[in-house]
Amino acid sequence: MSDMVWYRGSFLGDSMWCPASEKLEDNEHQWQKNMGSSRKSPYPRYSRRWFEIGCNRCKCARFFSTGRHDEYLSSTMAFRKRNIGIGRTPTTSSEPLQGGDGDVPAVSESLRGTRPSPLTGQPTTSTGAYSLDSLLGGHAGLALGSSLFIEENGTTDFAGALLRYYAAEGIVHGHTVHIVGVGEQWVKELPGLVGASKEAEAMEGSSKKSAVDSEKMKIAWRYERLGQADADRASRVLPGRGPVSNASQGASAETDTTEQAFCHTFDLAKRLTLPADASINHIAISPNPSPSVSPLTAILQSLNQHLTTSPPNTVHRLLVPTITSPALYPPQTGNPEHFLQFFHSLRALLRQYPTRLTAMITLPLELYPRQSGLVRWAETLCDGVVELTPFPHLMDASNTSAESGGARGVEEHPQGMLKLHKLPVTTERGGGGGGSGVGDDLAFTLSRRKFVIKPFSLPPMEGDQEAQQGQAEGGALGKATKVDIEF
């Protein structure tokens, strides 16, 4: 106990300490609530509002404000519970959450792959990209009954990767996945699950040394769960409730098989093995319909039919890849009447099935820029809007640096900028700002295993000798980044 290290986080104003000699994994502590403990609260002014939870094994203690009690218990003490499909642990989903108004109906027990939003209690589901989940306005997932519109500049296909994660996540959860336009082959090429605990453990082990959020920084016992981008932003709104990615905790979660997790990790280099009962609906787009008929009506008809005929406990995901792209859609798709009526009807459908349907639509901005009224209307009619702006020519640079192995250790270099223009639920209510992330400078990095979104920061200035040395090989790349930003 002599070398007790006091870690202090300004985060939510709590503090924690743990004997450094005896580091335990988070789930190895034996927590017990010490009511009226003799230990003084770190914040005497607020002493009555704090209570202590101590561990019987390592004698470490953590303070919690009473207001956050439920959250803490559920997020840190009830270990994996938060991560399990709600149907399995109905007890954890019943706790009243801060900010929840009870205005949203309780989630059905049998909806797989959903969990209530910590903000409003609305059921949410994962987009398959953990980082993106945590940015969606503090809901820690995509609220059911809402749509996400992903726009991409340039000719790259990062949005397609997000779409693949979204589809794969749906298939893993047993959701009905409706895929528009692309053929069967697309489904066969979905990224495979980084699955079983052993594999995850192996990955953890190998990546431990190089990963940014490595185990050394034990301060992160809580931040760990928040994820990279989350730690900075959504946490203010919502501490400790970021989506727990399966890979980061899968190592010790023997009891939970991967299918119970909320968000999975997928490997773009692998192929998803489709379960036999996977429910996938391919919606073909007729290449030559008559010009007066909207080619997009078929999508809604098929979707509506599936929604009305399927049992009420199925969750549906609609994927519309690269809408308006001439490769998949006939030319009249861009006709405002067809295009926007589709969005309007989709919005209506989403509102009609607020606990069963989500949608993700991607749009290449090359044909219809954001400054056109058409796209702005589509954005207005969608619930969440994400814009991807990949950096030009940076792909090569980051590849070479990865091969040389030099820059990897520092930080993966972002491949583009990501902007959130609109957040599901939040924006509609008039709330922006407030740490919601709209308009922030965010950068994304797509690697084999994950799509990471982080706040963007410029590399050190050229004159900054120390920092440049720290960057070593990364320096040249850093300059490139800076130049690219100023384009």
């Binding site: 900010g99 109906p105 009807s345 009609q352 069963r356 009224g373 209307w377 207005t380 008039g430 922006g432």
Partner: protein
């Protein structure tokens, strides 16, 4: 004292019952929707009597002081929304204003016209009697939105207030054996066609039947994003404008919500926005009908409006405790002569302030730099 269920003091003079025959234009942009402003209006107009029981008290004296004159007004509101559904407004009114819209609808003080759900009804043909598809939680059933399976408007006698008793609800639908979908919430009407005459007919029926309860009752019409019709159908702006004029003639006052994003308006002011558009190279000078019609519509309405209240994002980037900027300006329809005494005192002056929509639905409105006293 919480600022929940309360109209922010700075905003309070603006959200009172507007003078007769006036039009108020509320504009928003993509990341700053004016829905919260609509809720403040609802709160101000319907606040007396419509509030939830448990949220009373505490604010009583303030309410009495601030809008003492208005409490005597008997106001009914008809809300027509082409962008949002009944569930949304009901929830928002409860979170933001503490209003129980369903109860107000029962009292014939509120009516809702749903222009979202069945406007372009997909696949109306083959409705196979499904198991009750929506609302798994039992308590949601009674309040379920009006998802009438699209059957022509003629066979839909539910027209707002007339059908409100639970006993009457199943009767209008005897021709359809498989009426498994929930009956519409009382006081709501669904538009089943984007055509303007259809909407005008439905709204007219509602507006004329609503105030029958008391003759002195004033009706305020709130139109949420009728501009969606400009984009989704080939409705010209002039038709929509005359449609709105027609509706305005029926009611005491009208509130119009519309979008004013730069791309929508740039067609109206090429010169002013030329620099901005020029930055995007290829887009300069290209104006599609969607943009031209929208711009024409918004500009025309702004000229006819008494007040233009616009919400927009913060130009300087995001802030944690600011959602955006709300600006109140006099529109082209501002009537200098008709200013009441209160207004002449300078209460209804132009104003630009910041606002912050809190997570619990409460709103703070404050001057720039006065963030913590709001």
């Amino acid at each position: 004292m919480s600022n929940r269920n309360r109209v922010p003091p700075l905003l309070e003079p603006y959200v009172r019952l507007p003078p007769e025959a006036s039009l108020t234009l509320l504009t928003g942009v993509l990341d700053a929707t004016p829905t919260w402003l609509v809720v403040r209006y609802l709160d101000s107009l319907l606040g007396n009597g419509g509030r939830l029981q448990n949220t009373r008290g505490g604010n009583e004296d303030i309410m009495d002081n601030s809008n003492g004159t208005e409490d005597q007004e008997d106001v009914a509101v008809v809300l027509v929304s082409w962008m949002r559904d009944w569930e949304f407004w009901k929830t928002e009114a409860r979170r933001g204003g503490g209003l129980d819209l369903a109860r107000l609808a029962q009292q014939k003080r509120f009516a809702f016209v749903d222009g979202l759900t069945n406007l372009f009804a997909p696949a109306p043909s083959d409705k196979v009697a499904p198991p009750p598809t929506r609302s798994l939680a039992p308590q949601q059933q009674p309040t379920a939105r009006s998802t009438v399976p699209a059957r022509g408007p003629s066979t839909l006698p539910i027209r707002g207030p007339p059908v409100r008793t639970p006993a009457a609800a199943p009767q209008p639908l005897p021709a359809h054996p498989q009426t498994t979908s929930p009956t519409p919430a009382p006081g709501t009407t669904t538009l089943t066609s984007p055509s303007l005459p259809h909407a005008a007919e439905k709204i007219t029926t509602l507006v004329t039947t609503l105030p029958s309860a008391s003759p002195a009752r004033k009706t305020v019409l709130i139109l949420d994003s009728p501009s969606a019709l400009l984009a989704t159908t080939s409705t010209p702006a002039s038709s929509l404008s005359s449609f709105i004029l027609q509706l305005r003639s029926l009611v005491h006052s009208t509130l119009l919500v519309t979008e004013a994003d730069l791309p929508f308006l740039s067609a109206a002011a090429q010169a002013a926005y030329g620099g901005v558009r020029g930055a995007y190279g290829e887009m300069a000078g290209k104006v599609t009908p969607v943009e031209a019609e929208h711009a024409a519509f918004v500009v025309q309405q702004a000229h006819g409006a008494r007040l233009v209240i616009s919400a927009r994002g913060l130009e300087t980037g995001v802030a944690r405790d600011v959602s955006g900027v709300v600006r109140v300006g006099r529109g082209g329809g501002w009537d200098e002569e008709g200013e009441s005494e209160v207004e002449r005192d300078g209460v209804v002056a132009e104003m630009e302030v910041l606002y912050y929509v809190q997570a619990d639905g409460g709103v703070r409105v404050f001057e720039r730099g006065a963030g913590d006293v709001g």
